[in-house]
Amino acid sequence: MAKLTIAQALNQALESALTEDPAVIILGEDVGRDGGVFRITDGLFEKFGGERVIDTPLAESGIVGTSVGLAMAGMKPVAEIQFFGFIYETMDQIASQAARVRFRSLGRYSAPMVIRAPFGGGVKAPEIHSDSLEALFTHTPGIKVVTPSNPYDAKGLLLSAIDDPDPVLFLEPMRLYRAFRDEVPEEAYRIPLGKANVVREGTDVTLIGWGPSMALILAAADELVAQYDVSPEVIDLRTLTPLDEETLVASVQKTQRAVVVHEAVRTSGFGGELAAVIQEKAFLYLEAPVLRVTGYDTPYPMTMFEDLWLPDTSQVITAALASVRF
């Protein structure tokens, strides 16, 4: 099996979707000849031509809004938003339009489309490029929010997102695009949406994350075992909404402790929702409050200081120990 980066795995998924289904098209800024600023669509313009892989004008609402029309009329657009920070431009078209097509038409129409965007910090990108805004979309019924944390998941989840009959916001951890490689099967496999992944079983504390935070969590988990004799259970949500409450709650009922990790600012980050659900559904099991390791409540920092600002492994360890020793 080939060892691929997340970037390569995504490229393979897109190529296979374009090959499998003539209704699939890719659109966005610089996704054509340039292959995308992160090269995720590299080679696809050359292979599938300018009718299937389209460089659009520079307008995000336009990209998502035309995708809604395309999808309602039977196509399966896969739109790229160059950086997730620019998603604000599209929020009406996502939340009031794409997410409501099925609801508004009592199921007569649907909007099977994927909006891909690189997200998260750590690559010293300019202002507005690194914001983690996933929580905003978890507040929008009608769309699914999906994010992979490794090459294997990247391919399998993206193919499922493209198959999905409803709009999917697919967030790609920018920092991990080329950070490491995994074995990725050649064939077009699917990983189901809406199911969290118990990456590592444990008994003492449940560590919960998604996307870019998984790298920190996994490193922290190793150290917790090795240095502190703590046995963490690690959950990668994969799909944020609709949330796989069962897996989450079952784990915390077992470990009786939970730590959520995300890069987004703390207040009203998705960690808040998870803490709320867990304390409600596992109240009598909890031996410690659900703790959150998150960004601070400031705008995403100027990148000179982003490494100081971003959650790191040591903070995850500290929180896990605080939970265990509560």
Partner: protein, 356 residues
Amino acid sequence: MTDGMEMFPLIQRLDEEGKLVGELGFLSVADLRETYETMRFLRTFDERAWNLQRQGVIGTYAPFKGQEAAQMGAVAALNESDWLVPTYRDWAASYLRGVPMEHGLFFSKGHPSLGDIPTGKQVLPAQVVIAAQTLHGVGVAWATKLRHEAAATVVTFGDGATSQGDFHEAMNFASVLEVPLIFFCENNQWAISVPLSQQMHAETIAQRSIAYGIEGYRVDGNDYIAVANLMKELTERVRAGEGPFLVEAVTYRLGAHTTADDPGKYRASEEEDLWIRRDPLLRLETWLRGEGQLSDDDVVAIDAESERKVEEILANFHEALDISPLVLFDNVYAEVPTGLASQRAQFEARVKEMGA
């Protein structure tokens, strides 16, 4: 500076006095007689809907009175494989494309079926967010182009909508992608209380076409013959790959913005009077009478038939009110997710409890 009125002279075939000043084009006298009947029915419906709101039967309703010729003309040349992408005020246009008129009442009632377009009818649900649908129109037209379908798409919107960023992005995308789309602006002179002169500095909406390097047209929106013929020509041209186009139909909202609005606060009755004389229905009537195609008795008969149809619509509407509130949970996603399913169960219990 460009003189928009000069560059885009108003296209007219039937003038304010009901005098024919151009050709009938692809329309026969019989067509126009039928159009008159339909228009008169639509007027009857529109006025009844207004009253239904006043009686508390439905909620906020946006009347299209005065804009019938524009809306009917916009879709006059469409066929089954074409698409219509309308707004909250376009019940006349949607009706002609096969959307039952009770949908207008569903919309105002907040009935879950408001966007449940009959299968096979290529009309999108009415759009509330100003200009959002212009982008959907581009997407729909693009889809038909990608599938080589030779279909035309018409997207309708108001004068106020042209101020929105989405309108601009749609015009730009459409022109770059050369999609088979007609942007059809119902310039009814007002966006709620804001007159066109405060909505934009340009003289005409048609001249906005220049910004996108496409053709624009300004047509008398109260002249069905002119609008229909222009749309006949343009739909054929877009199907042949010559689109997109921008059409400004100059018309007037004879009524209030919606049942929640009081135009007395912001516009002069002289202006309203002026446009009452330009009423598209009156104009067609005058001409048909002049041609000997319409008598007083005919009008009485048409009104009776219109009333009958409105009663039928109302019956359908009332019958449709018996719908389970649980549908709210069934079309969020293709399948109800587990978490939502348990909320659905709670809701069901609540509904039972409240005897609703």
